[in-house]
Assembly symmetry: C2
Homo-oligomer: 232 residues x 2
């Protein structure tokens, strides 16, 4: 949990906050279902059945996360597909721009994406009302399936050290693309941004705090790359 | 539950029975993971996000079934991937021969395959020891996700009645291909067949009983086709 920079969460009575949370849940839900879809796609490239099963387990966990978010949206009287619709283009663009050219790039993408999503969830959880926060943290709790990736990537680089350079470049591209899509979302969705940066009647992160959040996300990404044996 | 034709289940002390059960669990596990994989593939053809999510839910349920079978195999000291290996070719052949050419064919395949698998599980459960039977019936219990298919297929045929003929033909092909692969498995795997037909020291189905089982499976298939609005 991130405890610095955190003002008291906004109340659910605030209509801008409510809209922002709805957008946030739609964003997360689309992210999960699209991650599930891409992992299923990557599983086809798996060199053996064991690794295929590992990827399928991740895809299935992402589907479980999606189902939780969907059920919550239904429970609060919202149409989950309406809530997700505005974010389809963002994720399709991200995946379009980051098509793995082989199995190892797929693994790195799964690992980096999973980790970045989990970090982001933890960061924003602090700005949410208790119920939404619990949902978002629960959604996060199922990850950690991707630890097998570390072993697979390190073994591959040991066998062919030239891979390290290509995969490091790939990792930087993934992070760059993720940040660029995130920036577009923030620019386009006022209510969602307000959840993070605060509105006239409730506090949020100031620009310096947002800067620090990006620094933390970037540092965590670098740590993950190092764990894979890759230069960030 | 099928109660006719059922002798007392074999004991787990019989080494041929044990081998047969191991083969059976390997067969079921490969079937589940390969169904999961194909459903994920079909999900890409879904015309909208709602239907994509329905198919992803089925894929995720199949993965859950697979995980139960895998965990059981590990618990009884077997390597699940070794147990699955002999059946890879069977399922790859089946899927190779039954590639859906569009979304509707994918739906029919999911529905028909899900139903046939469930019927088969119920049929064989009666011949198994209590622990294995419970596992097999549990594996079965998660299905039923595919009911949305009925609605989708009926709606499509209502819009374009010519579809009915093509999809009916497709359904017959699926059943024919499944039976032909099943027959090859039985012919190749003696121990597995012995679980069903009995060995020197324990009873099983006689040929007439096997005939009646096939009749029941075929009738249930015809009933499913009718439910979809298709001639069997």
């Amino acid at each position: 949990m991130v405890l610095n920079d955190v003002p008291p969460p906004s109340t659910v009575d605030d209509p801008v906050y409510r809209t922002g949370v709805l957008e946030l849940l739609g964003l997360l839900a689309y992210g999960e279902i699209s991650a599930c879809e891409r992992l299923a796609e990557d599983a086809k490239m798996a060199p053996d059945l064991r690794l295929k099963v590992e990827i399928a387990a991740m895809a299935s966990a992402e589907f479980g996360h999606f189902a939780k978010l969907r059920d919550h949206l239904v429970a609060i009287g919202e149409d989950p597909f309406e809530a997700m619709r505005p974010f389809a283009a963002t994720f399709e663009r991200y995946h379009q721009h980051t098509k793995p050219s082989d199995w190892l790039e797929g693994l790195v993408k799964a690992y980096v994406g999973d980790g970045l999503a989990a970090d982001f969830y933890r960061e924003i959880a602090a700005y949410l009302d208790a119920e939404t926060r619990e949902l978002v943290l629960e959604t996060l709790s199922g990850t950690g399936h991707s630890e097998f990736v570390v072993e697979a990537i390190r073994a591959a680089i040991e066998q062919d050290p030239r891979l390290g350079g290509r995969l490091a470049l790939w990792g930087r591209r993934l992070m760059g693309e993720a940040l660029s899509q995130a920036q577009m979302v923030v620019a386009e969705r006022d209510a969602l941004s307000t959840v993070l940066v605060g509105g006239v009647d409730h506090p949020g992160m100031d620009l310096a705090a947002i800067g620090r959040m990006f620094t933390r996300l970037t540092e965590a990404h670098a740590a993950r790359m190092e764990k894979l044996g890759l230069a960030a």
